[in-house]
Amino acid sequence: MTILKAENISKQYRLGLVGTGTLSHDLNRWWASIRGKEDPYLKVGSVNDRSTKADSEYVWALRDINFEVKQGEVLGIIGKNGAGKSTLLKILSRVTIPTTGEIKTKGRIASLLEVGTGFHPELTGRENIYLNGAILGMTKAEIKSKEAEIIEFSGCERYIDTPVKRYSSGMRVRLAFAVAAFLEPDILVIDEVLAVGDAEFQKKAIGKMQDISRGDGRTVLFVSHNMVSILNLCSRVICMEHGKIIADGPTEETIDFYLNNQQDKIANENFKNIDSNKEISVKEFNIMSKVKTGHVFNSEIIIHSKIEVLIQIAFTISTAESQPIYQIYSGHVGESFKMKVGDNKVKIVVDSLPLVHGSYLGNLWVGTSSLTYDFHKEVINFEVQEGAIRCDGPISSKNGYPIIENANWEFYE
């Protein structure tokens, strides 16, 4: 059964006038125009595509969004910063209204956006449970019946009658999440809450959310940049870009699409200007499929050659801080490639990538033992997702070491 239906949702923001209109700003504009300068407020609020210059006074944060959510479905929403995810959630949680379109719902929607808003620092934890619960739409009787469970789940029993201003930030988040987790709306909207709290609590929170969606048949809309939690929780994922839905489907497929989509772009942008004077130059360098610790790493290089020659290739990886850590060099294994005139394709496959999750930079070198034909420093920037080198679940701690090895362990008694 469809519980929520979004039809042609669009949200327009006006550049430069967002939040302005006061006299002081108008005077500033006037002063700038007299000196023949650009309107100082034109760039404010450009959400649609941050990197490009605005060519219109208006920007569409969301454009013609259509989707349906079935009862009991856990829908993930992913996308880069500024893709419009939060704007969509704001409309869903009735904080603002769309410029066009309608959202129809058969259930009450409650949102859990950046938990802890609405906590009053002077009130005790217990008083804040009631206040926060009421803000989220619970009645006093509902909260009372769940009070003990909420306190237990938060793990803050000891501090429950202490003002919240004395809490650590972690405790505040725990308490706030606990209140929201025991909320019983028909549709729960969650934005990036799991990014906070320690590993133990994150695990607890994910488990609770699985219970909510599976056990009670609650519908959940979940926005996150953390692909692991999306993978763990969601049955379906929507991927957004520049205010539009660009993919909608089963979780794994959509995440793959999103990660590839992101990487192809990075790779292609860097090879726009090929140096035509070079005899041999790299034309394209793409990392295929998503990159995960312990999983297959697959990349493809297209090399343009004007001569027939035997070459070797080196792909070296640095940390995001430009510290070189890892080399894949065809010379080490005695491989070289015979270039023919025109485009040549070379594939690099690593069976089990030993890098832990994080951001890495790649350099690419093409040459012979005595000569460099082409060298690109930090030409690709890629993200390694959490994965496992064996099969015991994702590696969540790096302990400061970017490279890990699956050794053979033996224990003698």
Partner: protein
């Protein structure tokens, strides 16, 4: 959950706006929130202070004392047979109620921007809770007035209650609603024009001088007949004058004034609700 028919949507989030979108049922469902907001406001204001709720009493007492010294002893304003201190205490207490209602509700959107930007609940709950929590403070202040009333009464002051005192709660309600209406209008406009915040700050102070707080309405007519109309067209002046008539048996009571005040209050309140409703939908984009 029971099977719901496909046509049976609970509600719609739409770009279309109705002029008056006032959902009593929804507000009723959030009554616990209203209660908790009131409790929060009353309990937290004087946390970590030594005198605590006594501050509620100190404010009107010292204001009334100052007024008595300046306006009655120095400037020789006549309050008739009523002791000047009691006269001022009554005016100050009622004026304070309006003052706090107006200034706190006019900040509604700005002070609650963080929470309004995250969750939905009927926004009008916030100004309503301000009106109610201030009513409780007013109640406490009224107690101290009653104490002084009894003191003066047994010391032979010429004061007497009239039977019209039964309508005193209505006058207080009128004052609260007028503050609510004006506050909602200002709060909606402050989201865009922050200047209004400063205007409210000193505007309210000036307003007090034309609201017959520290002088009887009749005195204004007598001394400054040319600009007395400023006071006479001010609904606040009638509320304060009428309240004093009920409590102390001094001043004038006019049916015209009451009808006029009720009319203005209803108009301001309706306008406030309409503007507030308009603003609450999109203010998060402009705040």
């Amino acid at each position: 959950m029971s099977k719901i028919d496909d046509q049976d949507w609970l509600y719609t989030i739409s770009s279309k706006r109705k002029l008056i979108d006032f959902n009593f049922q929804e507000i009723w469902r959030y009554r616990d929130l209203l209660f908790l907001f009131v409790k929060r406001d009353v309990v937290t204001v004087y946390k970590q202070t030594i005198l605590g709720p006594l501050w509620y009493l100190i404010q009107p007492l010292f204001t009334a004392l100052t007024f008595t010294l300046i306006f009655n002893k120095v400037a020789n304003i006549e309050t008739g047979t009523v002791p000047p201190f009691l006269f001022n205490l009554a005016g100050v207490s009622i004026w304070n109620y309006f003052n706090t209602c107006l200034t706190s509700t006019s900040d509604t959107f700005k002070t609650n921007a963080a929470i309004f930007g995250k969750v939905y609940f009927p926004r009008i709950i916030v100004p309503l809770s301000i009106i109610i929590s201030n009513l409780m403070k007013f109640g406490i202040q009224l107690l101290i007035f009653i104490a002084f009333y009894i003191f003066y009464y047994f010391n032979g002051a010429a004061i007497h209650l009239t039977s019209s005192v039964l309508f005193f709660p209505l006058i207080v309600m009128l004052m609260g609603l007028l503050g609510l209406g004006l506050g909602m209008i200002i709060s909606s406009m402050v989201t865009k024009y922050r200047d209004l915040k400063f205007l409210v700050g000193f505007g309210v102070q000036l307003l007090m001088y034309v609201s017959a707080v520290m002088y009887p309405l009749a005195l204004m007519r007598e001394k400054l007949p040319k600009i007395a109309w400023v006071v006479e067209y001010n609904p606040l002046a009638y509320i304060i004058e009428t309240a004093r008539y009920m409590l102390l048996g001094t001043g004038t009571f006019s049916w015209f004034g009451i009808v006029y005040t009720v009319g203005v209050t209803i108009a301001v309140l309706m306008l406030g609700i309409v503007i507030f409703n308009r603003t609450e939908k999109t203010f998060i984009d402009t705040v």
